[in-house]
Subunit: 234 residues, 2 copies
């Protein structure tokens, strides 16, 4: 027979999965807005953020009640602690989806600049990191989580490259400044999706075995000038 603790842990996991799937949907929509310039989808992304915000608060409540009434220990306790941190990353990924959609809308009517070619690639990479970090979380798959962390560097490199190209565009043609700036901001948002996926992946390793990999990556985040949010400063 399942204990109350097990039931409540399952309920917490389900709630996190619902929140994660809302966030994934939002990111997919935002990237469609970006890649296909589908501005009608924009409003849907903006409206889609509120349920995610609500879920963050709900899950926090769930965690607090679970801690107060069930006194989980060891792995279960670490899972609850990691859940409270993961909701922060999920909520911010939701915000980022909205930001991508809104900033893409500002590009409405402007011609495509060349670096957009790499943006969808970068977006696809970040999106796969988000998906895999959530899969790693669901399955407690530590190997997949480590793999997500390793991929962050590739996203950072792509962003550096896009940034350099956009700066060159702006210097060459001052008319491209407003558009290039929006694309720089969008690429930073996409890069931050990767950072949040990395945070989640670090959380998975933490609750799986109580081992901390945060702030101990093999790559040196200080080397990257474009890593504004995650565990290491840029």
């Amino acid at each position: 027979m399942e204990t109350h603790l097990q039931q409540q842990l399952e309920a917490l996991k389900s709630a996190l999965l619902r929140m994660a799937s809302l966030v994934e949907e939002q990111i997919a929509r935002a990237i469609t807005v970006l890649v296909e310039r589908d501005f009608e989808l924009c409003e849907q992304v903006i409206r889609g953020d509120q349920p995610i915000d609500a879920m963050e608060l709900e899950i926090d409540d769930q965690c607090i009640r679970l801690l107060a009434l069930q006194h989980p220990i060891a792995r279960d306790l670490r899972f609850v602690a990691a859940s409270m941190k993961i909701t922060i990353d999920l909520e911010r990924m939701g915000d980022i989806a909205v930001n991508i959609a809104k900033k893409t809308r500002k590009l409405s009517g402007m011609p495509h600049l060349k670096p957009l070619i790499d943006l969808p690639r970068m977006a696809a990479l970040s999106q796969s990191m988000v998906k895999d970090s959530l899969n790693a979380f669901v399955r407690g798959d530590e190997q997949l989580a480590m793999d997500v962390c390793a991929r962050d560097e590739e996203v950072n490199q792509l962003q550096d490259q896009i940034f350099q190209e956009l700066v060159a565009c702006m210097v060459e043609d001052s008319g491209s400044v407003p558009q290039a700036l929006q694309l720089i901001f969008i690429s930073r948002h996409i890069e931050r999706l990767g950072d949040h996926a990395t945070n989640i992946a670090e959380g998975v390793v933490y609750f799986s075995e109580g081992r901390v990999i945060k702030h101990h990556g093999t790559d040196d985040p200080n080397q990257s000038p474009t890593r504004p949010v995650s565990g290491g400063p840029a």
Copy 2:
């Protein structure tokens, strides 16, 4: 006589205060680097990040042990939960200080652009929000916490203004692009300090009375095109 729970809560509070004071020092140094172009201080800011990262992990451990062994309830439990969230904001503020210092270093040798006049003002505002959010946390001062949240809008407005000015510079003189871009990034970092201060202030209201003000601000964050990190999307 103090119970074990009270002792451990006090120890947790002390640890958070030590972490907060390290972060405040780092921010103050980074802003000195920016305002006085004191590039020698830069290395000190970069080195100063590691102890903050270490404290985040230590405090998380402390919280987990406290939850496992002391079973805090009600306000005490909310305090521990809020602490685990506050360390995330503190750690990221530490990263932001490093980012500000590094991006300022890239300005080395370039002449000042006009918008730097407003950046120190914006920096001072964000810095006061950080200070007050931490004071509010120490004293459990809910009124001060609400006041911090209200000030975030002013920082956002200043950032919009600086952004517009810098775009105008870039369009007018393409030679200013690299420098103007760094200033835009710096202003975004400073704005995010305000966002993190707001997160901490929301946490104070939460653990003081279990009331959630997150995602329920009076201002509409969607109105601001420049709010990338905090509770509301930009």
